[in-house]
């Protein structure tokens, strides 16, 4: 039989190494899978396309950063909420609602050329996400409804709401009835920071936000409040923190950031509102947050790693005709190995005879 016994002390070295270890194990497992699955294609070249090409080819690398930006922004918000023990699983829904709200503002001022338009859309996007996550906060505080279920189920509502909007008020009047909005005007588009690519200012915003979040968590009582509420609710009351406020903060921040990411996606790479807005970023960001151990700066790196799996996965799909689910397999294995490593850091395995 196997038994897990808590370790007296956790090794700091292993805590730092475990993401790398998880990555190595993922690569090894992927290698084994490829050996069995691939016919006529050398495993090494698939590996090259999957892991190396996105890093050395400038176009792929820019695409990697484009994908990493929303993951960073959403992952940051989630990591704050998760520290407080508030499980916002529906960032995808808040992302969609933020995208709709911000785009609606952009489309309303379709012919207006002005500097204030983009900031206004950004605010609308954040508010859209906040409002959507706020529903879960309200229900949890007022009626003790579990926020996991509410946020998750509202995601499906958001996706349907998006298609309703695109077939109704936000549809392009001269778009041959395709369920898509007009293409945004230049003032409503995010500035590009790398000429000739789709890389937009969202990446810089994400990096700034991550340092703001780091300060808030490390140096401000706000961070103490969410950490204490998450790990010892009674101690939070003893310290004088209002637990309802913790719920509001956690959901509004994670929802607002998800909304911001949604608007950035619409006003950035997409340039219009389409049914393809939801790209699973809201769910993938959960992996991003956990791989970073909920550390706001760590989120930047884990988002890059996950973005690599997106771009690499797409490339092998195109080049070798492999199924697109390779990306998900890769992400799933990564999270699995990471959690397994964490368990082994905290516990030691004892074998005993019954």
């Amino acid at each position: 039989m196997i038994k897990l016994i808590p370790r007296v002390e956790n090794s700091t070295l292993m805590v730092l190494l475990s993401p790398l270890l998880a990555l190595t194990l993922t690569a090894l497992s992927a290698y084994l899978i490829f050996i069995f699955v691939l016919v006529d294609i050398p495993v090494s070249s698939v590996f090259f396309t999957l892991f190396v090409e996105p890093l050395i080819d400038s176009y792929y690398f820019s695409e990697l950063l484009v994908k990493a930006a929303p993951l960073m922004i959403i992952g940051l918000g989630l990591s704050i909420g998760f520290r407080a023990g508030i499980w916002n699983i529906g960032a995808e829904g808040q992302y969609v609602m933020g995208g709709i709200a911000g785009s609606a503002v952009g489309l309303y001022f379709y012919n207006v050329e002005a500097l204030w338009l983009l900031p206004l859309m950004t605010i609308a996007g954040i508010l859209g996400g906040m409002f959507y996550a706020g529903i879960a906060a309200f229900l949890r505080i007022k009626y003790q409804v579990n926020e996991i279920l509410v946020t998750l189920m509202l995601t499906y509502v958001a996706v349907l709401f998006l298609s309703a909007m695109l077939q109704g008020p936000l549809r392009n009047p001269s778009g041959f009835n395709f369920p898509e909005s007009r293409i945004f005007h230049d003032s409503a588009m995010l500035p590009i920071i790398w000429e000739g690519t789709r890389l937009h200012i969202g990446l810089i915003v994400a990096i700034i936000l991550s340092f703001v979040a780091w300060f808030g968590i490390k140096k401000h009582m706000f961070g103490m409040q969410i950490k204490i509420s998450g790990s010892a609710p009674r101690a939070a009351k003893f310290a004088g923190f209002d637990d309802n406020k913790t719920v509001w903060y956690s959901l509004l921040i994670s929802g607002g950031l998800a909304g911001l990411a949604g608007l950035f996606e619409a006003a950035g790479p997409a340039g219009q509102l389409t049914p393809g807005l939801p790209q699973f970023y809201g769910f993938t960001a959960i992996i991003v947050a956990f791989l970073a151990r909920l550390h706001p700066v760590g989120v930047l790196f884990s988002a890059l790693l996950i973005a690599l799996s997106y771009v690499g996965g797409e490339n092998v799909q195109i080049e070798y005709n492999l199924p697109s689910s390779i990306t998900q397999i890769f992400q799933g294995m990564l999270l699995f190995y990471f959690l397994a490593c964490d368990i082994l850091i905290k516990y030691k395995v004892i074998l005993f005879k019954t």
């Binding site: 401000h220 706000f222 103490m224 010892a232 101690a235 009351k237 003893f238 310290a239 923190f241």
Partner: protein
């Protein structure tokens, strides 16, 4: 041999050693218990009492050393074998099924031996013989803690033991119940059942035990006759250092600083206690005690006093200000401080460092935060002060709270509030789980604080603690707080009456 020249030993334990890794829980410990005697096993937490008892009761096997039971070699492999030999044990935490009757519980504990139809008569027989008042048909869930202990004792007696081990039996009892228990124990000893009495309450040990074995840090300090030593000497043997005498130097009771006016609250928890019409007045410079058995509303009262639950208007008054609606942080700003009973998860966050835990209690006067921005250097200075002043054993203030022993964490928590020089300190179970030496230090610090003119409210189950520190004593029972007990005219008897709800 037809008759014995001297009283023989029922149990002899020689040179027992038991290690856990590097830690020697028992290091060459010996002890002999005479027939029909009450023998005390004294020691602080971690002195090795439990390990030794578990070895005697067969739930642990020693690394070396041997035992003799009635002059025969004795090495039990399990508690079952110990019981077969005639050793019974009453644990500190009872193992009774609350939904079953007393009789069913006793039957279940008997390993199937000695069952017959007249079982409840037999229970009543023991109950009468030893003054263990019990009704076999009652459901255990309805019984008081004292009555449950009587059930446990009767269950042991059904096995006709030659040695009864009792682990801290009085920690949950009212003074009256303690007195009753002692009568029972003396009768049992007179009838030929030796008793191994584990305790750290020295007064009790001196009252009923004819011999005492003192352990410290896993080693035998000495075996002695407790009546030949003063309580202070015994305590010093137990902790291995000198104790300071507790005495108020300056009882200068001033004007009222804190009052509770007719506080009632229905508990949110169905198993909680409803507080009824609680009224209390405290003066500057006074130490007020609230005695009572756990689960009579202490937790609920503490939540309201800390401010975790707001109180209606015009009920809690501190220095002329209505504080009912203030949260705990706002109350601390006014110089009210609190030490809750529960350490991990309430007074401290287990998975955070001591530094971080300092911030649970952070009035602006400490300058640990300004506009909610944390100054970690200041925090470290304060936590170092607490650690040094209150002798908290820890390698650094970066250690996680959960890595400290209970007693050390308690010192940290009490110290954290004491360095703020509170005008009012409300503390639940200040020395719960703390060794005698540290308890002495904490008591000394509380007294010094009161001598300087602060008011202190102590909510404790430890009656000795309350009696030795407090000038004004109330009793909390079933959510009701008694008036102050006049110790000169009414005294202990009144307190124990109140502790069981006024019905004795």
């Amino acid at each position: 041999m037809k008759y014995q020249l001297e009283i023989s030993n029922i149990l002899e334990v020689s040179n027992i050693t038991k290690s856990y890794g590097d830690l020697k829980a028992n290091d060459n410990v010996s002890l002999s218990i005479k027939d029909s005697s009450i023998h005390a096993l004294l020691g602080e937490n971690g002195a090795g009492k439990s390990t030794l008892v578990k070895i005697i009761y067969g739930s642990l096997t020693p690394d070396s050393g041997e035992m003799k039971w009635a002059n025969n070699k004795y090495s039990p492999k399990s508690p079952f074998q110990a019981r077969e030999n005639g050793i019974a044990m009453v644990f500190q935490h009872f193992s009774l099924f609350e939904s079953l009757t007393v009789e069913d519980n006793i039957i279940l504990g008997l390993d199937g031996v000695g069952l017959n139809e007249n079982f409840s008569e037999q229970i009543i027989k023991y109950s009468k013989q030893y003054g263990l008042d019990i009704n076999p048909q009652q459901v255990v869930g309805d019984l008081s803690v004292g009555a449950r202990q009587r059930v446990e004792i009767i269950r042991c007696l059904m096995q006709n033991p030659k040695l009864l081990i009792m682990d801290e039996p009085t920690s949950v009892l009212t003074p009256q119940e303690v007195a009753d228990l002692f009568i029972t124990l003396k009768k049992l000893a007179a009838d030929g059942c030796a008793i191994l009495y584990i305790s750290h309450k020295l007064e009790e040990v001196r009252e009923i035990c004819s011999e005492a074995t003192i352990l410290r840090g896993g080693k035998l300090v000495q075996s002695c006759i407790p009546q030949e030593h003063s309580q202070k000497e015994l305590a010093e043997m137990m902790i291995g250092k000198k104790l300071t005498e507790l005495a108020r130097t300056n009882i200068n009771v001033g004007e009222t600083i804190f009052s509770i006016d007719n506080l009632s609250r229905k508990s949110d928890d169905i198993y909680g206690v409803n507080l009824k019409n609680i009224a209390l007045k405290m003066s500057k410079g006074s130490i007020v005690g609230i005695a009572g058995v756990a689960g009579n509303g202490q937790d609920e009262l503490m939540e309201l006093l800390i401010g975790e639950i707001p109180s209606p208007k015009a009920i809690l008054n501190f220095n002329g200000q209505d504080i009912g609606l203030l949260n705990s942080h706002e109350r601390r700003q006014l110089s009210m401080f609190f030490v809750p009973e529960e350490r991990l998860g309430h007074g401290a966050v287990p998975d955070m460092s001591l530094d971080e835990n300092m911030l649970l209690s952070r009035p602006d006067s400490t300058e640990m935060t300004s506009h909610d921005v944390i100054d970690w250097e200041k925090v470290a200075v304060h936590s170092k002060t607490v650690i040094d002043t209150f002798d908290v054993q820890t390698p650094s203030s970066r250690m996680l709270a959960k890595s400290l022993s209970g007693g050390n964490l308690q010192k940290f928590m009490v110290g954290r509030e004491l360095i703020q020089n509170p005008e009012l300190l409300i503390v639940a179970q200040p020395t719960w789980g703390v060794d005698a030496g540290s308890a002495n230090n904490i008591h000394q610090a509380l007294i010094e604080l009161a001598d300087k003119g602060s008011a202190i409210l102590i909510i404790s189950q430890d009656l000795d603690e309350i009696l030795s520190l407090c000038e004004q004593i109330h009793v909390l029972s079933e959510g009701q707080l008694s008036d102050a007990v006049d110790m000169k005219s009414e005294g202990l008897e009144k307190i124990s009456q109140l502790m069981v709800g006024g019905k004795v």
